[in-house]
Symmetry: C2
Subunit: 757 residues, 2 copies
């Protein structure tokens, strides 16, 4: 069961959750796990399909708009719905909410990359049929969403009708009461073309404002004799197959989705072209290719746990959805909810660099590179945004965006999170450390580091010999607009010093490129000197009495939140208290200083890190799904094994068990990345440094063994933790030095290194 | 000329400004100074009439809405337009933008309370006429807006037509680019009835959401033979008088405006009733009554300056408009722009208590009382708002409102300005100190002080023996959401200690009332003790090095704003920089700590106040019109006479000279109050204390003399400053002790006290 997710629920509340859990995607196209035939009337559903980065621009309305507030934002759009397949048995419409279900099983196959439902249904009039729905969103042909339905009559049925619909009149989901979901602009896409051409059913839709096109070109087939009728309606196409109920048959529906960004202006023609390319492939062929792709992924990414099947299942679920969510071209990144729902409107946040990209970096570095190149592609927007904010130089990356402009409509917990620029710089540096890719440094990383370093010089200032950064917001959104947020300052320091370092690396390795770059961005040597000075002089708040790092200058002087009083209510504090009231207290939504201690552990001694952890743990609500994994990692580091495990458990099945109660809006992708981090950076103690990688493994006592792989500088290293020993196997690449529990070790090809505990 | 404002401009830009400058109002009804006949086509105009507090509820849209953000706000509405009077000379339409103007004069008579235009006009066909428009908004019959037009043909004219229109199809002004002006909801009033009844022309309009009615009942008259036609249209009424051009004649138009709040459901009937009450009065009678009212006002409020006519005119202009702006019933207060324009949407702010009410308190205490009772009337809303914000007890007054609920859509510079609750408490205390009105304390003030004191206990907390208030915004909106804003903490201290004092006064003077009150609001003696403890322990930031009061905990550690760099642009920083960027610097929009030093000068020694003034002066932009007057007052106190005068000059004619470039949106009422404060609290050094009033006069060297009056505890005291002496005259009331330059003096009726300098 650890390779599949299984479920028989027909409860509406759970079905909404399942729409996210059973969603299928490939980083380009995503389809929620809706039922082909729908639910019964009046049941809620967020029926959706999305293309990563396919969006419309919408106006942001403010009660009071101040200078440089973003005027528009982007919104991922629910696109043409090709999921619908209806079935009639002698005129009786199939539904799981009528008749009798003799057996029902729903599976998500994570090893093979498809979803299925196997249903033995008895109609109200007593006719029985076994249905086998399978669907996939192809990793090989990214435009393809395929449905296959096998129909096996069990009792005599005279006539079976299959009605296949493609509907263009779709809307986005809105909820005015939840700030994490869109509150407006439900309808931003209109059907611009609908017609039949040869055997293709074609729908084209266009966004209201940005005028992007999306096309869905559909073919269907039945492998039996049938009579057939098709109708082109105003916003949809409908095909009806009438088949004899004598024997089993299969219905297949192939939908090719193309968009302007990736396919240019002729989206329909391109869709037809792709259809032609795959026309010889059966559904089984498609499945096979999908499985091959996933086999390759799992070879590098899988984590094997012996001792807890539920956790094993949870981890595979998270890694499967991470792969599904990650944009694999220059136009896209990883939306906060992947392509599984509409929460956060398809926007990309710091989640990518801090929570998700490390997974790819250590398992599929090419994917990590692609995600970073997306950031490089929006560097000009970031430069422009810095100017809008009043800075003379530098790049300020948007807190949330699709196409590169700032989409945050609430700056205290949006634009004020300047740390995102340092987070992105951190992501580039990590990539460089893991791959050692000098070309990457020259072509992309140096420029990103230079421009972000410039930002910190603009934002901060020297005061009594220290470099201070005022009025920003750290990761913890329960305390906004503060001075000298520890996380921000530490990350900015890292950014500044690495920018200076990158400058000198470039100077040594490619002075021509350096000259070209410095000229193009008008960079002076004096600026580079300033980076070093500012970085070295960076002020990192430390409380002499508590001997911990203060989250910011004033945090520790505030009143502590009264948890007893507030726990009377339910749910995250942010939906129960005005932000100003939260800001007034020592209460954290998520790891902030503790996160800095993970990302930059060299900044503080272990006991400071420990005291800080102990202190912040008591006042952290984990109302953000980005919190548990960091606490788990740091608990591992500090030897708090039981805590590490407990926090880890919270991450491993957060969506599967819907512990945050909003999985219906999409999966918590960053948390999914966090699960992997908690294992590899937490239990296995991986750290990445200039000198190489180090591990300090510690197997949770609940498990018999843990096995995972690491990609590092062209090698693939398999690591196996057992109760009494750790085994390192170099399965690809040349000899490699690593540090294990503080000691240098050499790994040799095809030669296991076994180290007893 | 010091009693009138005169102008001949026909420049569109200045005409927009003049619409505000020449506006007429009485605190209930306001009419902008538009031309009866309009401008020429394509010229911009904000044609408007308003009833104080007559508003609609509108939804606030947020890009991202968090908990307890206000969902609706109120918006004062432009109401039925009764200004229009058109004139045709043998078919040629009169306009100041056609034909030839042989002479033109426009006056606002501040001593008599009316506006006029006297025009000698030659039509394109060469027909000449002298027109004399007069208009008033009556202080005696508050519903009345009257227009009188005298027409004198100069050359032969055969036929003169007067077309009088009342139009209900009106909208509000919107400007998306200026946060100080509404950006949406232009149309919120629809015509619900329009008809003729007897000789009344009746228009009733209803608000979209709140369903308030406003009626305008109009009668017109011509004092010559005429033929007459009237038409009732869909949203307007039109009357046409045709008069022979043989001789002069007069046209009079009386418009009575009634509304649901003041006149109940039968607004039309009430309007007709009021018409009947005044039907015997000629326009001259109305003018006479208006003049009588103003004579009485000026007797108490006038300030006479010998030595500068422009300033003299400016002060009278300001005092005239203050009277026009002040709501005189329990439903209304003083909108930030009075009734002269739509800026800030007719909302009431702290401006009333801190800048405007002191003028009335010292000249017309009954008016001051009425303004405070409005605050008392919204106390329940303030209690409710405190709960919404997460406070268990207390009252949080709205930062901006009409009917009592919070209308601020940007909390960092809105709701976060908790100081407004202390400001209102301060207003109540000042009223009590000036009037000694024990009944007022019992009935209103004690409850307001108790509930606001409770708020501070909720918001602040003890830390290392000091009472601290985190995450609020002080008056200076260029630094929002700070800890221990000096102004807020000092005002909260005053609020807390006075609440405790009021409790004991009530205990002594009326224990029955105290019991009734404490029971009704569930107040415990322990809470009262807490007020004293918190007040005494209040932390007031002081920088040991600079030896000044820090604006807040972190202000003095921030970078100083680079004025040279930013001055390249133009206009207030708030329309050129993102708020976050401004927050990051030592730069002030307006007096903050300096204002606290004015209101609560006993908190610090003179040299701390001086050093603070010197420090903050250098970094204050005065982008708020509430700033100059405070700097003038404090410059006076500190003996910076020339500065005091220069700052004062900026206040005296701010609107007359449109120095803030937005007078078109309405007059800066708080600044107008500030002019008076700068003279009486500044030059004359008035202070109000429990022990009585003190003065420390210092005549600006630019003037020969300065004279003003003070109402204090039933007395009227005239004060005359001359170069070599000060004269106090007790013109009303019994013997009074005052303090002059630190020495006790007794004033006796009808006996001037002359003190040489």
């Amino acid at each position: 069961m650890t390779w599949k997710i299984t479920n028989q629920s027909l409860d509406n509340h759970q079905l909404l959750v399942d729409e996210s859990l059973f969603s299928l995607a490939n980083g380009y196209l995503g389809v929620r796990g809706n039922f082909e035939e729908g639910y019964s009337d009046k049941m809620a559903s967020i029926r959706g399909a999305y293309i990563n980065a396919f969006h419309d621009e919408t106006e942001i309305t403010y009660g009071e708009k101040l200078h440089a507030f973003p005027e528009t934002q982007q919104k991922i759009l629910n696109i043409i719905d090709s999921q619908t397949v209806l079935l009639y048995l002698d005129g009786e419409r199939f539904s799981l909410f009528s008749g009798e279900i003799l057996s029902y099983e729903r599976n998500l196959h994570m090893d093979k990359g498809y979803g299925e439902r196997i249903i033995h249904w008895k109609s109200p009039n007593g006719k029985e049929v076994v249905l086998h729905f399978r669907r996939l969103v192809s990793f090989v042909t990214k435009e393809l969403f395929a449905i296959d339905l096998e129909v096996k009559p069990v009792t005599p049925v005279e006539k079976i009708e299959i009605v296949s619909i493609v509907e263009g009149d779709v809307s986005n989901f809105v909820d005015k009461s939840d700030p994490r979901v869109a509150s407006d602009h439900a309808k931003r896409l209109f059907v611009s073309e609908v017609y039949e051409h040869e055997h293709y059913h074609i729908l084209k839709a266009t966004t209201y404002s940005s005028k992007f096109d999306v096309a869905c070109v559909t073919t269907t087939n039945v492998d039996q004799n049938y009579s057939y009728k098709s109708t082109v309606k105003k916003t949809s196409t409908e095909e009806v197959y009438e088949v004899s109920g004598d024997s089993s048959f299969r219905f297949t529906k192939l939908n090719i989705y193309t968009d302007t960004m990736r396919h240019g202006d002729n989206v329909v023609e391109q869709g037809i072209k792709i259809h032609k390319e795959i026309k010889k492939e059966t559904f089984e062929d498609l499945l096979k290719k999908q499985e091959n792709y996933l086999t390759d992924y799992w070879k590098k990414a899988d984590i094997v746990i012996d001792g807890d099947n539920k956790i094993q299942q949870g981890i595979r679920f998270n890694l499967f959805h991470l792969l599904q969510a990650a944009g694999k071209d220059e136009f896209s990144n990883i939306p906060a909810k992947g392509l599984s729902g509409e929460g956060y409107e398809g926007h990309y946040f710091w989640d990518t660099e801090i929570y998700m990209n490390p997974v790819f970096l250590m398992t599929n570095p090419e994917l990590a590179r692609s995600l970073l190149l997306y950031r490089y592609s929006i560097l000009d927007y970031a430069r422009q945004r810095a100017k809008e904010m009043g800075h003379a130089k530098g790049a300020l990356f948007p807190w949330r965006t699709i196409s590169g402009t700032e989409c945050s409509a609430f700056f205290p917990a949006g634009t004020a999170q300047y740390h995102i620029s340092a987070d992105i710089a951190y992501g580039f540096i990590q990539y460089y450390l893991v791959t050692g890719d000098g070309e990457f440094l020259k072509q992309y990383m140096a420029e990103v580091l230079f421009e972000t370093a410039r930002l910190w010089i603009e934002v901060g200032h020297m005061y009594q010999g220290e470099f201070r950064i005022d009025n920003v917001t750290g990761p913890d959104e329960y305390t906004c607009i503060v001075n000298n947020n520890y996380y921000t300052n530490a990350m900015a320091k890292h950014n500044l010093l690495w920018a200076e370092k990158a400058y000198h690396i470039l100077k040594e390795t490619d002075p021509v490129r350096l000259t070209e770059l410095t000229e193009s961005i008008h960079l002076t040597a004096e600026e580079v000197r300033q980076w070093k000075v500012a970085g070295m002089a960076m002020y990192l708040p430390f409380d002499q009495e508590l001997r911990i790092n203060a989250q910011d200058d004033s945090f520790l002087r505030k009143a502590r939140w009264d948890f007893e009083k507030s726990d009377e209510g339910k749910g995250a504090l942010l939906v129960r208290y005005h932000p100003l009231t939260l800001y007034r207290y020592q209460v954290c939504k998520q790891a902030d200083t503790v996160l800095a201690h993970f990302l930059l552990e060299g900044e503080e001694d272990l006991e400071t890190i420990r005291r800080s952890y102990d202190y912040y743990e008591e006042i952290t609500t984990h109302d953000s799904s980005l919190s548990y994994c960091i606490f788990s990692i740091m608990a591992s580091k500090l030897g708090y094994s039981e805590k590490a495990y407990q926090y880890f458990i919270e991450t491993a099945r957060l969506d599967l068990d819907n512990t945050h109660s909003n999985t219906k809006d999409g999966l918590h992708m960053a948390n999914m990345g966090g699960t992997w981090l908690a294992i590899v950076f937490g239990f296995a103690g991986l750290r990445i440094a200039e000198e190489g990688i180090t591990l300090r493994p510690s197997l949770p006592k609940q498990w018999r063994s843990l096995q995972f792989s690491l990609s590092y500088r062209g090698r693939l290293v398999r690591v196996q933790l057992e109760k009494d020993q750790v085994t390192y196997s170099l399965t690809e690449g040349d000899i490699l030095s690593i540090t294990h529990c503080g000691e240098k070790q050499e790994l040799h090809p095809n030669q296991d290194l076994v180290i007893p505990n």
